[in-house]
Chain length 157, copies 2
């Protein structure tokens, strides 16, 4: 049960640490950026380890499937529940029970806190894709916790 | 294989982040304290989850055994290799292949970097014990990487 607990708890503490050490600063957007950057680097390292012995990917969709299955399972101990694409470089990854939100209360009044719990993971996906040669912009959206969506927009060269 | 990778990589990035954001500061001891504090809080949270359904501990030694087995396995996917005690409140936990050091090179010249990779874990143990009502001082020692020892000194009330 507690397999993902060390990671989840460390993730929470990193958020607390960053927000606390920036107290008094006006721009809270910088904290989100810091978390996103940490996620980016973890994503880069992780995809490197995970793909060490895998076959080459066929195409972009093949890469996205790997992110939704193997990569997600490694970090969150479950797969992405739903992957949609417009076949023009936009992918929406939906997780119906996102681990890094599951300890937050479900009430609507907590929705405003969601972004800081998703920034790391946006970076994580962007970092993983970046190491596979895919440049992207990753944003997140929560409507009902603990379900959330990550939107990946591939940046064509 | 990669079960502990997300945690390990996040741990590394936290170290980088803290050391980088303190660049220019003269006291590097403060970084170690910051890492130790983050570890303390993670340790508190983790032991709470892990002991939720366990029986009450018989004594101090019983608690230390739980730290060496269940707690260590949850975080590092292996047990402590050797536990020694003088039966007067000092415990030495030896890990012959400590996960958070295993990515560092073995050469002696890297030994000086070891403390920053151990500070979090010292806090982790201290936080776990603290939540079980045991006050302690935890220090670490590396002689040959990736093996290391954590010394726990119980503080009697």
């Amino acid at each position: 049960m507690a397999d993902e607990a060390p990671f989840q708890l460390l993730h929470s503490e990193v958020i607390q640490y960053i927000y606390k050490s920036a107290e008094g600063e006006t721009e809270s957007g910088r904290n989100v950026t810091k978390l996103e950057n940490i996620g980016f680097r973890v994503g880069q390292g992780l995809i490197e380890r995970l793909t060490k012995d895998t076959a080459r990917f066929k195409d972009e969709l093949d890469i996205m499937k790997f992110i939704c299955k193997d990569f997600w399972t490694c970090v969150f101990k479950k797969q992405i529940d739903n992957l949609r694409t417009n076949h023009q470089g936009i992918y929406v990854l939906q997780d119906n029970k996102f681990g890094l939100l599951s300890h937050l209360s479900v009430g609507k009044q907590y929705l405003e806190h969601a972004p800081k719990y998703l920034a790391f993971t946006c970076g994580l996906v962007r970092g993983a894709l970046s190491n596979l040669g895919v440049k992207s912009i990753v944003t997140s959206e929560v409507s009902v916790m603990p379900s959330c969506k990550f939107q990946v927009m591939i940046q064509k060269a």
